[in-house]
């Protein structure tokens, strides 16, 4: 017939590696799995100790020998939250994508949930979870996990929903025509098609999650000090004890943990997920991971999957029987009336909830204070704007310079990703000390604290934006002698505008959240406060003043949603319409 130029990859790969490599790989995989199981069991048991505040609370000691244990506790929380986020994303995204009616509620709701300041809710969730598990630390654990979960789940859900919506039509038709049962459709088409998007979003969210885990481990709620053994509470104790050395060690530990998780967990996943790309051609530089290479060299995974094949087959057949292929949808009848009822009901629910919240707040708070809180919101918003401008002016030129240099950007990207996931609140004490020493106004200074974490999103996206500028365009401007401000105005700014907007949305969202911990900081017995909505929420949370918590958090939601709608949405549309590099 004809000559086939390509040899199948597996034919050249499977039998080649020699025996010793395979045995070594087997041993490595086995040891790795056993270690993981042991550490998880050992660390996880710490979550079930007794907890009866205020007499019986876990101690956090500053002995550096405890650091690995604390780090493991924090990391375990992160992973439990990640699994919870994954499950939630699948369910919520699936329903939103499959039901047109649910979609109309779930997607705008997701937009709002995304804007809610997670830390403002800690007080509510902590009291709730503690009440659920009286006498056990589990309640506090779950509250912390819940805080991480709410910080990372929304964009994963969005990603899954969008992937489901973007499945190529003919793939969908092929699967329909061959009448795949719903479970097979889910695992063979829908999950694989969404894997890469989900993975990148999970990775970014996980990075942001370190901030929430450390902020949620040591909080004072309702006049109670709650500490949960972990890296975050270690830092909190170090701050109270004014122990700079312990602080330094905690930062070092945090850095090591982030790098380990990246190397042992995310890299292998990214390299493995490369096969889920929807593009038809193969790319030249597929991501690599040494861990994945070891797992692939080992024969254990293949042996296990072969051994379990009958079992998985049986499960698959059973599931197929329970969830057969979706019967065809009946032709759409006129739904105008039912839609009207549905929309009306929705508006009613919103009105009732708003009314309930308003009366709850009005019982204790007068109008003057509400005006005061609005003013605080404006002040915090000004800080957010200022830090956005500041980060843009500083980081965009640097990001563009890095992005235009391929060697430099390869080097810089993982570093910036690392910086973005490093919890900024670990660095707060150093900046605080500087403010205390110099007497610098904290009303301005708190803005720098908020920028500490947020700025990296601007840098990261500037690099990505600059990298995506086609080299043709850059060569063209060079040959036409375009340089300086003209180059920025006509090429660089339009070309990276979309990336900047993406970075800006993330950065400002993060900054609002950070304001709750950045507008009030302490070192030992000294406490610095700044006038703003974040400080208002933090204080209300600490003393357990419910009406003020509801007012503060609600106000922040309004500000964030308004900022997204009034400023970012039009900018985003503009970027899509005018400045898209096809």
């Amino acid at each position: 017939m004809q000559q086939y130029p390509l040899a199948p990859r597996d034919a050249t790969r499977t039998d080649a590696p020699n025996r010793i490599t395979a045995i070594l790989a087997d041993v490595a995989v086995l040891l790795g799995v056993l270690t993981l199981l042991y550490v998880t069991a050992r660390v996880g048991s710490g979550a079930f100790v007794s907890f009866v505040p205020p007499v019986d609370v876990p101690e956090v000691s500053l002995d550096p020998a405890n650091l690995p244990y604390y780090a493991a506790r924090s990391t375990l929380r992160m992973f439990i939250a990640l699994v919870a986020s994954l499950i939630f994303s699948f369910i919520y995204g699936y329903i939103a994508a499959k039901s047109a009616r649910a979609e109309r509620v779930l997607i705008p709701l997701l937009d709002i949930l995304q804007s809610v300041p997670v830390l403002g809710f800690l007080s509510i969730t902590v009291t709730g979870f503690i009440a659920l598990f009286p006498g056990s630390l589990l309640g506090l654990e779950l509250a912390s996990i819940f805080a991480i979960f709410t910080g990372q789940v929304w964009n994963m859900t969005f990603s899954f929903y969008q992937s489901l919506k973007a499945i190529p039509r003919e793939l969908d038709e092929a699967v329909t025509l061959y009448r795949l049962p719903r479970t097979q459709r889910f695992f063979q088409l829908e999950v694989p098609a969404s894997t890469i998007g989900m993975l990148w979003n999970a990775m970014m969210s996980f990075g942001g999650g370190w901030f929430f885990v450390s902020a949620s481990e040591a909080i004072s709620v309702l006049n109670q000090e709650y500490t949960l053994p972990g890296l975050g509470s270690y830092v909190a104790v170090a701050i109270a004890a004014e122990d700079l050395q312990a602080l330094g060690l905690a930062i070092l530990t945090m850095a090591i943990v982030i790098i380990l998780v990246d190397q042992l967990f995310w890299r292998p996943l990214v390299a493995w997920a490369d096969k889920f790309k929807l593009e038809r051609s193969s790319s030249a530089d597929a991501p690599q991971s040494w861990v994945l290479n070891i797992i692939r060299a080992s024969r254990l995974p293949r042996m296990l999957s072969a051994a379990f094949a009958p079992l998985t087959d049986a499960i698959s057949t059973t599931l197929a029987r329970i969830f057969p292929a979706r019967p065809p949808r009946p032709p759409r009848t006129n739904q105008a009336t039912t839609d009207w009822v549905f929309n009306g009901g929705l508006i009613l629910v919103i009105l009732v909830l708003s009314w309930y919240a308003t009366t709850f707040i009005a019982r204790e708070i007068n109008l003057a204070e509400v005006v005061q809180v609005i003013l605080m919101g404006v002040v915090t918003m000004l800080r957010v704007f200022a830090l956005l401008i500041m980060s843009t002016v500083i980081w965009v030129p640097i990001g563009v310079a890095i992005g235009f240099n391929p060697r430099l950007s390869q080097l810089a990207q993982p570093i910036v990703l690392f910086l973005a996931s490093f919890p900024a609140n670990f660095l707060f004490p150093f900046v605080t000390l500087f403010f205390i020493a110099t007497g610098f106004s904290f009303n301005i200074g708190s803005m720098f604290l908020m920028a500490l974490g947020a700025q990296w999103y601007i840098l990261f996206n500037s690099i990505a934006g600059a990298m995506s500028v086609p080299s043709d365009l850059r060569e063209m401007t060079r040959s036409m002698g375009v340089r300086g401000w003209q180059l920025w105005r006509q090429l660089i700014i339009p070309a990276i505008f979309g990336s900047w907007v993406t970075g800006g949305i993330t950065a400002t969202g993060g900054a609002w959240n950070a304001s709750i911990v950045a507008e009030i900081v302490s070192w030992g017995d000294t406490t610095l406060t700044a006038f703003g909505l974040g400080e208002y929420i933090a204080v209300a949370t600490e003393i357990g003043d419910w009406p003020r918590i509801v007012l503060g958090v609600g106000m922040m939601c309004v500000f964030v949603v308004a900022m997204n709608r009034i400023m970012w949405k039009p900018l985003y549309d503009l970027a899509e319409r005018r400045f898209k590099l096809a």
Binding site: M1, E170, K275, R577
Partner: protein
């Protein structure tokens, strides 16, 4: 293969399909009263231009889309949901990129709950049949386009369907690969062991239809309807060079470029709803039209259509709309498979840019109601500006949203070329050229 009175496998009776127009403006009819049957041992080609609803018809017969009215039966039973008698080969191959060749081929078998060992055996046999032996564990992205489509065929073959559906299966491949694969499928069809009883292929390639089919069913557009069928009475394998082959291709070409010509059996054209004051414009850039006319004028002002396709290296789907547009504007006429440039057309092609724009303006205002309407609205306005939405709303009374947008874009392109008006895409506003 023989054309005796064979069993009917799939039958469509009075099938119509309409999609709702935006904002409750009624419906847009894509297919109207289609009657069609697929019998055993025959290859049917559905031939039509874009907009004739041929892919929609295929999907209705496959049970992927429900018809608005009419019935589809398969093996005597009404089709509800995916038609179990059908397997389909897709234009874009539709392979799961994360599954190996074998896993892709096993997809339908797994859905039926066929045990692992049997699944593998049947899949390997199908893979062997399409000449991909040894590639079972490769991933689609490691294969060339032609080999990927072979996997698509294997996946359909393994189901042993009663009717094999093909939706433009060769149009995403380069010319040589398509030729090669088409030949192989034709060879397989002539053997007794072909894994399906019949084939239904959708195509816009006239030669492909004549090469493969026993019956070519020609669809007309706006709304899609069956204009008639042409029986291909050539022995297999078919030779392109024979007189009869050329004759059939020429005949179909003429039929497709002249919507008013009747194809063998008279075609019914029902009108639905309001009369459309804006007859559809072919989606063609003014510059392409002028380029093609120049080419024909250079070659003496008259050219054979199939040859023109080869000369410009354009598919029928790309070439025919340009010719339609030229005919619409009075620049050319089409007769018996030839295109003839008119006097105005010749002047338009040969004049300098200012003159040719003036000629274009004159013809557009004489033949395109939509542009005349735009022109009038602009003259009524003292500020010489009108929002695009006004015209889009007007068009959406007769076209679905996307089609309305295409109509508008074409009108804007032509109007700009004619220097009648300007369009600001950011403000979405039309302004009069001063």
């Amino acid at each position: 293969m023989t054309m005796q009175t064979a069993d009917v496998l799939i039958m469509a009776q009075d099938v119509s399909k309409a999609f709702p127009l935006p904002e409750g403006n009624g419906t847009f009819t894509v297919l109207e009263r289609i009657n069609l049957s697929v019998c055993t041992d025959e290859v049917i080609a559905l031939l039509g231009r874009s907009g004739s609803g041929k892919s929609t018809l295929l999907r209705i017969l496959a049970g992927l889309i429900p018809p608005t009215s009419g019935t589809v039966t398969s093996s005597g039973k009404p089709v509800v949901g995916a038609n179990p008698d059908v397997a389909m080969v897709f234009q874009s191959f539709a392979l799961l990129p994360w599954a190996t060749v074998q896993e892709n081929v096993e997809l339908g078998l797994k859905a039926q709950g066929v045990p692992r060992a049997e699944r593998a055996a049947r899949a390997l046999k199908a893979i062997d049949m399409v000449g991909l032996d040894g590639f079972e564990s490769a991933y689609p992205r490691e294969l060339s386009g032609g080999m990927q489509q072979r996997v698509g065929f294997a996946r359909a073959f393994v189901m042993e369907p009663k009717v094999l559906f093909m939706d433009e299966p060769f149009s995403a491949l380069d010319v040589l690969t398509a030729e090669n694969l088409r030949g192989e499928i034709d060879m397989l069809w002539q053997e007794d062991s072909f894994p399906a009883d019949s084939i239904l292929i959708v195509t816009h390639n006239i030669e492909e239809a004549v090469l493969l089919a026993d019956r070519v069913i020609i669809l007309g557009a706006n709304p899609g309807h069956i204009r008639g069928e042409v029986k291909i009475d050539l022995p297999r394998p078919r030779e392109r060079e024979t007189e009869r082959f050329k004759q059939l291709v020429d005949y179909i070409y003429t039929a497709m470029t002249n919507p008013q010509v009747e194809v063998v059996s008279p075609a019914r054209r029902g009108t639905t709803g309001k009369l459309n004051p804006f007859p559809p414009l072919p989606m063609v850039r003014a510059g392409n039209m002028s380029g093609l006319l120049e080419l024909i004028v250079e070659r003496g002002g008259k050219e054979d259509l199939p040859y023109l396709g080869q000369l410009t290296n354009m598919s029928t789907d790309e070439l025919l709309p340009i010719i339609d547009a030229a005919v619409l504007l009075g620049f050319a006429t089409v007769e018996q498979g030839d295109i003839q440039v008119t006097e105005v057309g010749r002047a338009f092609a040969e004049a300098d840019i200012e003159q040719s724009k003036a000629l274009f303006r004159q013809q557009v205002l004489a033949h395109v109601p939509l542009i005349v309407t735009i022109q009038q609205k602009l003259q009524e306005k003292s500020n010489r500006a009108v929002r695009a939405d006004l015209f889009l709303d007007m068009l959406e009374e007769y076209y679905p949203e996307e089609a309305a947008l295409h109509q508008f874009e074409t009108a804007v392109d032509w109007g700009r070329y004619a220097e009648l008006f300007e369009y600001d895409a950011t403000e979405r506003r039309l302004t009069r050229d001063s």
